[in-house]
Symmetry: C2
Subunit: 107 residues, 2 copies
């Protein structure tokens, strides 16, 4: 199984994306972002992830490498934004699916 590493530049790879979404914490982040139709920038620390800082860094790194997020570095803190356009173009329906999961979890 070659399963070449992600190329966030242009092409999203399904395997990489699914592996990224397979983790509950990362999935929670993407689901939250997918549910917010304003697509505002969010601070990394604003997600309520029950893990240490280092692990959080690791997860956001993974999500960016998969091409699902883009980051803005302010030196001090960091912001993330969902790459909705790219994802919708490559995987139409995926974000709707995840957003639906947000509604579901709220119930």
């Amino acid at each position: 199984m070659p399963e070449t590493s992600a190329v966030p530049g242009d092409e999203l790879d399904l395997g990489t994306v699914l592996r990224a979404l397979a983790d509950p914490h990362r999935r929670a982040v993407v689901i939250e972002l997918a549910a917010d139709r304003t697509d505002g920038e969010r601070a990394c620390h604003s997600f309520n992830l029950p893990v240490s800082k280092q692990t959080r860094t690791h997860h956001f790194r993974t999500l960016c490498d998969a091409g699902l997020l883009c980051e803005v570095d302010y030196g001090n803190k960091k912001g993330v934004r969902l790459r909705r356009a790219a994802i919708d173009r490559r995987f139409p329906g995926l974000l709707d699916l995840l957003a639906a999961e947000f509604t579901r979890s709220a119930r």
Copy 2:
């Protein structure tokens, strides 16, 4: 992360499904089935998986546990069928997404 184990009886769990689809071999199986709109029964050994028999058993077991497939045991050999209705009901758009990946890989 509780991430309770799958209950194939009724409810499909997103985490379990994504973890099942994260593996290239399992994903290949589901993609092939999703692309075939006739939804015919397929023999397990008819998929060209480059792994041993034991591993193949393991993968099909995982897919069934995730609720993506149902199996028919003929004693001698085994058939699988995509649980399209259940998947479409719980995750509308998911199978279309995977079927699109089949077309893509053919190119």
